[in-house]
Amino acid sequence: MPLGTLDSAPPPFFRQGPSALSKLIFFGVLSLLLMVADSRFHMLQPLRAGLATALYPLQWTVLRPFVWLDGGARYFQSLQASQADAAAAQYQLGLQSQRAQQVEQLTLENARLRQLLELRARVNAPALAAQVLYDAADPFSHKVMIDKGALSAVQAGSPVLDEWGVLGQVTRVYPLVSEVTLLTNRQQVIPVLNTRSGVRALAFGNGTALELRFLGAHVDVQLGDVLTTSGIDGVYPPGLQVARVSLVDRQTDASFARIRCTPVAHLNGTLHVLVLRTPAVQLPQNILAPPIGPGQGKGARP
């Protein structure tokens, strides 16, 4: 028998380490602890970020051939198709320019009116453009990864929009990428305002769409109503389109109406997104500051 067919070391019959059952119990308990620490106490973000950074080179390498293929395919795309795309974009721009000019004027008017009424000025959130890299593989949650991370000053909690409406919220930030939880995630809630009737509500994700919960059976919501962000949470700026009501079910014996809405944003097929800075960071100081004591300031009462 040739020498190469044997393992170099004899099998360690008598020192196999701890038994399989004890290893199972040890690692099982360890993973349960990790899960509790991750989901309940959110303590493991540093560990996660470290592992993600270690995995990043592998992900980058794996993606490279496909990026090149995609680039090559696009290079050979016909000139005609590109020109048609450019023409369509020009047309869209033409349609929007008129509205954009009106908006300028309306913003000015709105600012003056608010000044007259002594209302607080609207918060305007600066934004950061990003690209969706891929869907997160976990089939239980609805998340996508975008190509901007902590190095581009993305913060956890920032709202994310696509061209049509609100897409979701940044939930985890890694150094180079971040994870966006879509509105349809079971643990995602967004405060909304019905633009037709002014009813405010909370929209909960239910896995496939959004649901308005805890609204009375006779609430003024109709099929096709447009819901926008109400802005009362300090996270989402007001007035962004969120969803359209797709089902209103008023049962006589239930005290709440069952209302389902479809998100306006293209949750499955969007490529370019906008990450807004969290408004809470840039709220005017006097909102967060403690109330002014008597004798100071103009509004103090005796």
């Binding site: 170099s8 360890l30 992900q59 794996v62 869907d135 997160a136 239980f140 896995g207």
Partner: protein, 176 residues
């Protein structure tokens, strides 16, 4: 050593090959997810298949600890609950190490019938954990995943045993 009749004597495995096959499985899972099918629930978990293969064939080199560490990496890549795959792979490796003496005496269909149980347990464990954590179930297509993983078992068995089936002393005149 008692061996099934008609089974060839294999060369010793090279540890480098084990580790590179595990990393390749991780990369393949990334391609499935990032390029091809997104987060479909029916996608077979290649990592689980390769892990069970090595836990059955080389239980002294790839065991429960390896499953745990690789599970953590998969958790981070998928953005899943940290520890979900770690627990599933720990259980998977435990069961695989448990059946490793028996499994190789069966023919391929017998082996597939037995590993199917393992994969079902792993997916069931993940489903239970996520439902407990308050996530929505991903739908019935999830049932396809263990079946696809079982179908991958013969493929993986043939591919990963290829280096060990080489002739021990390569010779230009030998037919093999």
């Amino acid at each position: 050593m008692i061996m099934p009749r008609g089974k060839e004597l294999l060369l010793p495995v090279r540890p480098v090959f084990i580790w590179s096959s595990l990393i390749a499985a991780l990369a393949l899972a990334m391609v499935q997810n990032m390029v091809l099918w997104g987060n479909a629930a029916w996608l077979p978990d290649v990592m689980a298949v390769v892990l069970v293969f090595w836990a059955v064939h080389q239980p002294l080199r790839v065991g429960i600890g390896t499953g745990f560490v690789l599970g953590l990496l998969v958790d981070v890549h998928q953005g899943a609950l940290l520890g979900q795959h770690a627990l599933a792979y720990t259980a998977l490796c435990f069961l695989a190490v448990g059946i490793h003496r028996r499994l190789l005496w069966f023919n391929m269909f017998g082996q597939m019938a037995q590993v199917l149980g393992l994969f079902v347990v792993a997916h069931l464990l993940a489903l239970l954990l996520r439902l407990t954590a308050g996530d929505a179930p991903p739908g019935w297509s999830m049932l396809v995943a263990p079946l696809l993983e079982t179908l991958l078992w013969p493929v993986v068995s043939v591919l990963l045993l290829l280096p060990q089936r080489q002739a021990p002393d390569p010779d230009a005149t030998r037919p093999l």
